[in-house]
Structure formats: structure tokens, C-alpha cells
Amino acid sequence: MSNPHELVPFDTDILVDTLHEPVLALDAQLRVRKANGAFYRAFQLTPDETVGQRIHDLCDRQWCSPALQRILEDILAHRTDYQAVEIEHDFPRIGRKTVILNARRLSSGNNLTDHVILALEDITERRRSRHFAFSHDLFCVATLDGYFVDVNPAFERVLGYTRADLLAKPFYEFIHPDDRDKTAMVVSQLGRGNDLAHFQNRYRCKDGTYRSFDWTCPAPQADERYLYSAARDITELLEVEKDRKRLHSELARSNADLEQFAYVASHDLQEPLRAVSGCVQIIQRRFLGQLDANADELICHTVEGATRMQTLINDLLEYSRVSRRGGEFKKIDLSSALDEALKSLETSLRETKAVLTRDPLPRIAVDRGQMIRLFQNLLGNALKFHGPARPTIHVGAHREGEAWCISIRDNGIGIASEYFDRIFALFQRLHTRKEYPGTGIGLAICKKIVERHGGRIFVESEPDVGTTFSFTIPDTEPGS
């Protein structure tokens, strides 16, 4: 009788051959002693290129993944077995696979050879089919002539039909009649090998309602007979989008209404106001000083009230014109708008002995007239609300992401932070008309101009120190 230990290799070979799973038997140097048929089939290798090779060297060292190598080394050094370790690897010839690994060291005692038995179960398909089964997205396999070959449970869930229902008829019958031609065109495109990133159509549910799907459909590869497509149910998304669009257009309409109202109100109010103020001015001309003191006072108050109302209405008209009569956006040198604004402020610049410094300003696409108005208002404020010191104003410009930020910094009386929001509202004032004249329209107009350009305006200020008004104007060309 031979030594029982010598039976070990024999047993291993038999064992390996009997298994249906791919199995390898390795020696202590990790050379392949034996591989079974399942292994050769699964990994598309031949015995000639396998047996006797170190496992690391298979297929020009590309077969063994670093994870597998670590496991094998570990097994030899320390452990006796590994159960169900999942590895993923790009195997030569068969591509990316997920494999479950069982490894066991067989020691044959009395310093005889160690063996490692390695069982490799390819679970790639199983994994995919689990994704197929549990995805919320809809997966299908279909023929080019219009039948489903397979659909995943999400399909059944969303449409309410069973898999058998769906496979029984051409899929076109489930598609909204208006979308059938479009879908047929897509299928014929795919049949000709053209990938289509996305397209949308509607499917009829069992309850008669429709769901909108967004499809991802790669063209079948040369050796594929079927279309493999994935769809996402975007019905709710489209509804939300529709709501958003509706709200947006409602908002736009209500804004337009409001603007129309401001315009009509201010425009039409001018007519009766002209009558009142005209007549009262004539009365003032003819009768002031000819009646009594009381009458004179009344006349003066009436004239003043009418004049103020004129100013308010004019301001309101100007405000409503920012969007009503805005000009085209053209690329201009912003410096030229600043120059123009400074020209109109010449007198107050001279009277206040203001010192003005400025950064070079960019070339950007703007409504030139409105930029002049914007500078006029902001610089006008800087001059108007100056402190005891000589007004010092700096016009700065810097890049802020995809926009330019222009700032006007002064050393004036400043604004307390609790008023920062209020100052941009229509007809909001922080001072009496006696202290500082004006209706409180200037910054509201500035805000509207800046917003029409897609930018924003903001203020930083400290009382008695100074104020900086900044506004941004989007500009996607960073080079300018």
C-alpha cells in the first residue's frame, strides 16, 4: 500500500475535476497544478497556457488582481482559508467581472507540499440581475421589430401591467399614440447603430393614465440582437417643471401688470395734475398778495403740494421706464458712462470740492443710458450726503467670478445698518426734506437698473465714517 500522504494530490485533482464551479489547485509556489473545465470555460484560457504557470504570470501578469494576490500570500503565510471574498477585476479576454472567491490551504503534514484550492464563482450576472430586479429605473431588453424580450419589475410596478402583458404585444401599443412615430424613428436610428443619449415618450398605464419616460438607449453592439434600454419615470419631474414654468410666467405677468399700473397711474395722473398745478400757479401769479395773509399761505401750500406731486409722479414714471423703455445692451467702456455722469455732476463736484479717484473700468455689455443714470445717482448721493470733511470718493472695479463688481466709496455721513434694506425701496427716505431734498427714488432706480442687467446692488456703511455702494454686472468674458 502506498503512503497515504501521496494520495493527496490525486484527491485534489479528482476533486477539482468534479466541481461545476471554476476551481484551481495551486502548489506552495502558487503555480497552477490543476484547473477544471469550468475554469477554462469561464475565463477562456487553455490548459497549455495555464498549468505550471505561477498564477501571477497568467496572461502576461494581467489575470491576477492585486486583491487576489494579497489573499493568496496571506493564505500561505498565516491563514488556512478565505470564505466568500468578493473581488472585482478586469480579466483579460472576458472583461470586468465580479467574482466570489473561496480559498483553502490544504496542508499534508510531514513537510509535504502545501496546496491551495481556489474556487472562483462569477457572480457578475447575478449581481446585474439583482440591479435589474431592484432598480427604481425601468430596464428593458427589446427587439428592433418592436417587442419586449424582458422588462424589470420596475416596469410592472410603474405601468401596472404584468411582465407577461408587456411581452405579449408590440411595445408600441403601450406608447402614447402621439409618441409612436417618434419612438419608431429612434428605434430605427438605433438599428442603424446611432446612439441616442436621451429621448422622451409616454407610456400608458393599466389604469389609462400616462407616464413620461426619459430613455437612455445605446445602439446595440455588433454582436447584439437586442436593444438594452433604461428609462427614468419623469412624470412628476415634468409636472413640477410645468408648475415652475406656470409660476414663472404668472410672476412675470404680475410684474408686468404692476409696471403697467405704475406707468399708467403716473402717466394718467399727470393730466389732472397739470390742470390743478397750472391753475393754482395762475392764481398765485394773479392773486398772491392781493387777498389776505391766510389766502397767501393757502396758495403757497397748494402750489408746493402740486409741485411735489409732480416730482413724485415724474420719479415714478422714470422708475417704470427702467424696464419699459430700457435700451439695448451693447459692449461699452464703462469709463465713458462714468465720464458722462461726472460731467452732469460738475457743479456739485466743484461746489463740494470733492476729490474723486477711480480704477480703470471694464468693457461690458450694458444699457449705456442706464449706466450713466446709475453712476449719476450713486455719485450724486455720495456728494449730497457728505460729512464735515471734504468729500472723498473712489470708484473701484474688481472681478468677482463671472461678474464685475463696481463700487462707489465715500467718506460721508454713512447709514446705520438697520436701514440697509429700506434705502433701496421706492420713496423711502431717512431724512426730512428740509435736511436733504429728494423723493427717495434714486436708489430704487439704481436697484432696478442693476437687476435689469442681471446683477445685484448692496451697501456697506458705518455712520460718520462713510458708505460704499457696490453693484455687480455679469460678464462671462474674463479677458475684458
Binding site: Q270, E271, R274, S277, G278, C279, Q281, I282, R285, Q310
Partner: protein, 148 residues
């Protein structure tokens, strides 16, 4: 140049608002312009006046027309076009005097050969000044063709 000290300037005001007409009258008084002001309140009447039709067969030919744009029956734009297409009338200076600041109106008015376009100031004092300027310009500065 006309003999402005003796012969009053004949002005035709086409204006539907009685208040605006009153203000214009006042402004002419304030400006101390020697004038005769004739007022008609719609476009049809304006053309009858100018063509001396019906009740107007005896009216003098105006030296200047102050024309509002928004008028009942026939509006100022049409009146302007008819005046400027009329061989007899087209040489009379027409000043469009309106509340409209619409570019479209300005553009169209000059297109119909308005002699000038003025937006009525809301403030009466300014309005009076404008009237005075109109008079000064058309009757002291420019040379007009002799009436035939």
C-alpha cells in the same frame, strides 16, 4: 420779418382739453404775445377751420398751428398728415404740442413733416416759458414764406 407790433399773430390751437386750452391762453397772456388765439377741439374741426369750410368760411389763415396729438374724431397725427399733404396748407408751421413722450409719436410726427415737436411741461411756469420761446422762434428768428 412781420410787423408784430400792429398785426396780431394768428394762432390756431387744436386741443380737446378745456383746461389745457385755458392754460395755453394764460401762457400767451403771461408771455405778452400779441396774438389772436383760435381754439378748435377735434381733428375734423381743425381741418374745416383750415379749409374755411362751413362756419369757418371767414376765418383768417393761421400763422402757426399748435397741435395736440390725442384728439377725438380725427387725431392729431392724421390732421398733421393732411395739412402737410395739402398744397394750400403745408407751409403753415405746425408745432406738435403734446403730453406724449413716446419715441414712436416723435418719430411719426417728424415723418409727417411736423415743424417741431414739443412735450408740454407739466409745470405752468415752464409751459409759459415754452410758449414764449415758440413765439420768439417762429416770429422773430425764422423767415417764413409770404402768405399768398
Amino acid at each position: 420779418m412781420r410787423d408784430k407790433f400792429h398785426k396780431p399773430i394768428e394762432i390756431l390751437l387744436v386741443e380737446d382739453s378745456p383746461t389745457d386750452a385755458l392754460l395755453a391762453k394764460e401762457a400767451l397772456i403771461v408771455s405778452k404775445i400779441n396774438n389772436t388765439l383760435h381754439i378748435v377741439t377735434d381733428g375734423v374741426e381743425a381741418l374745416s377751420y383750415l379749409r374755411r369750410q362751413g362756419d369757418y368760411h371767414n376765418t383768417p389763415r393761421p400763422d402757426l398751428i399748435l397741435l395736440d396729438l390725442n384728439l377725438p374724431k380725427k387725431d392729431g397725427r392724421e390732421v398733421l398728415a393732411e395739412i402737410k399733404n395739402d398744397e394750400q396748407l403745408k407751409r403753415i408751421p405746425v408745432v406738435v404740442l403734446t403730453t406724449s413722450e413716446e419715441q414712436k409719436d416723435v418719430f411719426e410726427s417728424y415723418g409727417h413733416h411736423a415743424n417741431c415737436y414739443i412735450v408740454k411741461p407739466v409745470d405752468f411756469e415752464k409751459f409759459a416759458r415754452v410758449i414764449k420761446e415758440i413765439e420768439g422762434f417762429w416770429f422773430s428768428i425764422v423767415t417764413l414764406p409770404q402768405e399768398c
